[in-house]
């Protein structure tokens, strides 16, 4: 698998779509001192897409998702979400951006341990605008936790905790769901439950950017982006089962070798 960045990915990845992209990343760079975590990443996300963000550890996946979610700032480059350049937002605008436009799901769940499942969901409402207990109950019912409302996180299984986190992420109807290895700490059964919820969200039209190491999880996504050493090395809409294809220049595609949107035209049979 090559680790070289693909040339001009933004220009080449645009399939013929009518709707403007929901998210545009342009030459995004993030440096921690001398360490360059992201080395000029660019791609677009269309509304309703489910993108699996893959790559080895240290490739910049979490950094990218943090910048996109307004948890961190970029060293340079632009990130435009629904027409708003979030790299230019001040702290208070970033707070509103996180509250109103983003739903976060973390690998570690990040539930407040001394709040019940219901209160954890209501906490997101509290920071967004106003609390509505009935809505929070409904959100937990949707993820199958109607009977766990008053349970503290310690009394919930990992899968249940992650479902609370998903309910919390969805309670304010965000435009973009950012999930950082949401099944990373779950057993197979709970992983299936959580992924089913994401499938439903995708079918309902939510835009999802999910960091994952798991190929099986990534298969659920409509598009797969791979980062290596802070560079975009794959951006494909093909699934993992497609046979390896060759580009006109005769070299295999990176990763699994399926056809890539970057060269979709030339690779289509």
């Amino acid at each position: 698998m090559t680790t070289q960045p693909l040339v001009n990915p933004v220009a080449s990845l645009q399939p013929a779509q009518q709707t403007p992209p929901q998210v545009v990343l342009e030459n995004l760079v993030k440096e921690y001192g001398t360490l360059r975590a992201l080395g000029g990443v660019s791609f677009n996300i269309q509304p309703g897409e489910w993108i699996a963000l893959m790559g080895p550890s240290g490739s910049g996946k979490t950094t990218l998702i943090n910048i996109l979610g307004g948890l961190d700032t970029a060293t340079s480059g632009r990130v435009t979400v629904n027409g708003q350049d979030i790299t230019r937002l001040g702290e208070s605008d970033l707070v509103r951006y996180r509250a109103e436009k983003i739903g976060f799901v973390f690998q570690q769940f990040h539930l407040v341990p001394y709040l019940t499942a219901l209160e954890n969901v209501m906490l997101a409402q509290y920071f967004h605008s106003v609390t509505d207990e009935s809505q929070a109950v409904e959100a937990l019912q949707r993820v199958g936790l109607a009977d766990r409302l008053d349970h503290l996180p310690a009394k919930l299984s990992g899968g249940e905790q992650q479902r609370v986190a998903i309910a919390r992420a969805l309670i304010n109807q965000p435009k973009l769901i950012l999930a950082d290895e949401p099944t990373g700490n779950l057993d197979e059964a709970n992983e299936e439950i959580v992924i089913n919820i994401f499938r439903e969200l995708h079918q309902a039209g939510h835009t999802i950017l999910m960091v994952t190491h798991d190929v099986d999880i990534a298969r659920n996504a409509s598009r797969r982006i791979e980062l290596t050493h802070g560079h975009l090395t794959l951006d494909t809409t093909c699934n993992f089962l497609e046979q390896p294809k060759l580009c006109p220049h005769g070299k295999p595609f990176p990763s699994s070798g399926c056809c890539s949107t970057l060269d979709a035209k030339s690779c289509n049979p």
Binding site: S92, R98, A99, F106, V112, L115, M122, Q125, T131, D132
Partner: protein
Amino acid sequence: MGATSGNRSMFRRLLRRLLFANHGRLFVILLALSAGAAVSAALLNLQVDAKRRINSEFRAFGPNVLILPKSSLASFDATFSESTAKEIPESYPGGRVTVSSALYIAGRISISQTGKSISGIVAGIRPLMFLRIAVAPSGTDPGKPPLPNMPQGPVCISGQRIAARLGVEQNASLVITDGDHSESCTVFSLIHTGGAEDDRVEVELHQAQRLAGLPGRISAISLYVPGTSQQKADYVASLQKQFPDIEVRPLRQFSEAQAKIYSRISGLLTAATAIILILTALCVMAAMTNIAAERRNDVGMMKAIGGSARRVLHLFVTEAVVLGLAGGLIGAAAGIALSVVLGKAVFGVAAAPRLIVYPICVALTVIVAILGAYPLRRLVNVRPATIFRGEA
């Protein structure tokens, strides 16, 4: 309206959860704050009480301003009008002035039962119980002697030294003569001040005036003037201006010593209170550092889901205020009770609980709790990603 009340209700819910998230930690923080508040309240109460206490202790040794006729140095018999005492202002910014008129005469003092007699100084005093009144707690009505079981008829007070010379005891009947006049009285008490009072017999002023044949005349007016040195100096100057024909003599050395001692005790208590509060703040800060470490991810998450630093901080500061209030209310109450015990140990008399100390001490404890929450305040200003990376 509903939205606001819903959020208030959620705020209270969050606060309750924060406070009771860890009972052991809550106990430790409350204990630290209460202990700090208790010691601070005890010291502050002693400090406030010290001024009154010192005034009281010093009053026991006598007046601090004397008013004498200008010719008093030339003649023991010099007198002036008793009405002067009535013109002395008893109330001024420094407090209530205690006034006593006296007429000093040399007489013959004898015991009725034994007939033994000696020559000695007789002081006619109004009010007779001046010294007792002067050391009584403020608020005592000077018109009512605070002494129970007063004997019927004229009473007198004998200094211990003259009593020893005469062989007189309490409740003995004395006859005092001066020339052709004589007066009798019952010894109500024996006093020992270490001063001139020990060598004289004190009777009612009108008795002394009858003995001397000087109705309406007095030898001196003694004043106890409370307040600061400056206040006393101003008061003495105004008196001198008011009575240009008599001499107003402040006992300066005594007043300055009094101010110096109060100043030292006050400074010591203030320093001790400040040290206690700083130590309390450090204890709370240590506990809060632990809490900050525990809540690192919670803060990161709260900010990640849209919590502004201000709102997250509001939660934690309110938590600190509630802890400070609880610790302050419990500790200050205990501290004031403690000061009563300490006062008894230091001054021999229980310190009076001063109500002003209570709110001051509670407020100081709340401030200490807020300062102690510094680690949490620092944490909420860190970017969520930095917290999640474990760099905060």
